[in-house]
């Protein structure tokens, strides 16, 4: 037998995550999630280090590559994958993790390189890292916004075009670092005041949110699943911007609500909570795998009036025509509003995808309008900020589908506030 307490090199674990992300092209978020599950037995401090280092290295990739390229003879893009990943994660520690001494970073990097049998490159890695650690790197001095905020140039350009320079800077700031966590009280089960007391008792800090009585901003907890109030179904995590969807719907008790692309189910559950057990919410999505996520939420929140159905929203369902009082069309989009929550999304999405997505959205919207009863209300929403997927779609709904726009809410992401989001409600008069 070998000893129970094992010395585990957290940096080697992060390196493996980064290498797997390069090789397999899987989403880094999922890789990190898996690795934290696998190392669930590690102390919280080590787990937090793994998470912060892996997420941060991915999030700041453009910035890190720029810094490395300034001090290295070999360009980052021409390096061996292992050397590239070791340098990126090491420079991240030097520049962004002030608690780690630079000398330790260099030593650990050299050890990793040697252990992976690149002995001839230890001198190179050591040299580049020593040079970088002896410089004071001030990010604020980097004028190129794409480099400073590690954001692909076309997205920077988009932000400026859609929201103006001033707002764009806020949007860029909010794309790096941690995002606030908002929760929605399950008002069918508990009052916001009671929930606040419960959470405070569990050691969570709870802040009220202006204008939304049932929403709070929470911090100071490690894992949601450790909180009794969460497991009891007294609240859900949902961004403030997303909560506006069920608000705009103006749901009344006893209504039939359809959510076309429901997973992971936040808006469906919100609607079901507003119905307080009356009426029904039909939550649809394209695969049973996606619906599984909603199922977890249904049982946790103890919702009786939510039904699930596997259905492809881009295909017409004749049986649903003229049969719903309310329709939620929260559709697949480029996600430019939630870049701060999904660390490698910004590198994956391409500008040419936007038109394809807009076309898919129109296809689904045509169906969505059909399912609405006369006098019914539909909310169209996306977690993005492009005109093709927001204002132009609203025009399409009015002009081509003949619905009347009631209200519109546009959120631009800000560092200490909600994500970027678009939501508009429409009424079917005919």
């Amino acid at each position: 037998m070998t000893k129970g307490e094992i010395k585990i090199n957290t940096r080697a674990i992060v390196l493996d995550v980064l290498l797997a992300a390069e090789k397999e092209g899987r989403m880094t978020g999922l890789l990190i999630h898996d690795v934290l599950d696998q190392y669930a037995f590690l102390p919280a401090r080590d787990r937090a280090f793994i998470k912060n280092l892996a997420e941060g290295t991915v999030e700041r990739r453009i910035t890190l590559d720029y810094i490395i390229d300034r001090y290295s003879k070999v360009e980052v893009s021409k390096m061996k994958s292992l050397i590239r990943c070791v340098l990126r994660m090491s420079v991240y520690q030097i520049v962004f993790m002030s608690s780690v001494p630079a000398a330790a970073v260099c030593n650990e990097a050299v050890k990793l390189v040697r252990k992976r049998h690149f002995n001839n490159l230890t001198g190179f890695v050591n040299g580049v890292l020593r040079k970088i650690s002896s410089e004071k790197i001030n990010l604020e001095e980097i004028e190129d916004l794409s480099v400073r905020f590690s954001m692909p140039e076309w997205i920077v350009k988009r932000f400026r075009e859609e929201a103006g320079d001033e707002r764009a800077l806020e949007m860029l700031k909010s794309s790096v670092g941690t995002r606030p966590v908002y929760i929605r009280t399950n008002c069918a089960r508990i009052s916001p005041e009671e929930l606040k007391v419960l959470l405070t008792d569990e050691g969570v800090s709870v802040e009220a949110v202006e204008g939304v009585s049932y929403a709070f901003r929470i911090s100071g907890f490690e894992r949601l699943y450790d909180l009794k109030s969460f497991n009891e179904g007294y609240f859900s995590v949902q961004d403030l911007s997303s909560m506006s969807v069920a608000e705009l719907l103006k749901i009344e008790e006893g209504m039939k609500v359809l959510d076309l692309c429901a997973a992971p189910g936040g808006k469906s559950c919100h609607a079901a909570e507003i119905l307080k057990g009356s009426g029904v919410v039909e939550a649809r999505d394209i695969s049973s795998g996606k619906l599984e996520k909603i199922e977890e939420n249904i049982s946790r929140l103890a919702l009786q009036n939510l039904e699930l159905k596997v259905s492809d929203a881009s295909q017409v369902d004749e049986t649903a025509i003229d049969s719903f009082d309310r329709v939620i069309a929260d559709l697949p989009c480029s996600g430019l509003g939630v870049i701060g929550r999904k660390n490698d999304l910004k590198y994956r999405i391409r500008e040419e995808d936007i038109n394809t997505l807009a076309e898919l959205q129109r296809r689904i919207l045509r169906n969505a309008a059909k399912y609405l009863k006369k006098g019914g209300i539909m909310v169209y929403s996306t977690c993005t900020i492009t005109k093709e997927e927001c204002s132009e779609q609203a025009e399409f709904i009015e002009k081509e589908l003949g619905l009347k726009k009631l209200e519109e809410k546009i959120f631009y992401q800000i560092p200490d506030g909600p994500d970027g989001f678009y939501a508009a409600s429409f009424k079917k008069d005919l």
């Binding site: 070998t2 000893k3 129970g4 585990i8 493996d16 696998q38 190392y39 050890k111």
Partner: protein, 161 residues
Amino acid sequence: MAIREVRELGDEILTKRSKEVKEMTPRVKELIDDMIDTMYEANGVGLAAVQVGVLKRIVVMDVTGEDLVVMINPKIVETSGEQTGQEGCLSVPGKAGQVTRPNYAKVLYLDRDMKPAELEGTELLARCICHECDHLDGKMYVDLVEGDLVDVHYDEEEEEE
């Protein structure tokens, strides 16, 4: 002193039952000495004879670095309690996994002079007694692991510093 080759998971011998030792012979003595060297050399805390390819009921253990125990024909007669924690095995290099074991074990055995002896252990020692005695019956800890086996990156150099 001789280091023997440690058999690894997948080697069929690890699934076989080891046989009782009937008498002490020079060959058995040499085997025991080699097992001790092999265990220490590999930074292990326990080793069963089958792991060096000999189907005899012999175990060597040292969980503290100062308490070497040689057990011949060991038999666990009592266990109690429960502990859940990480363990690894010299026959499954570079891996570890979470295993639930008794927190106390009492074992009867013959010592190097073939005299009856007994040993009680808790925590790591109890875990090691159970792990090694399983080897003698062809059982591996990987079948008991809760969740997945994880990769262990040993930080050998850190210890030299």
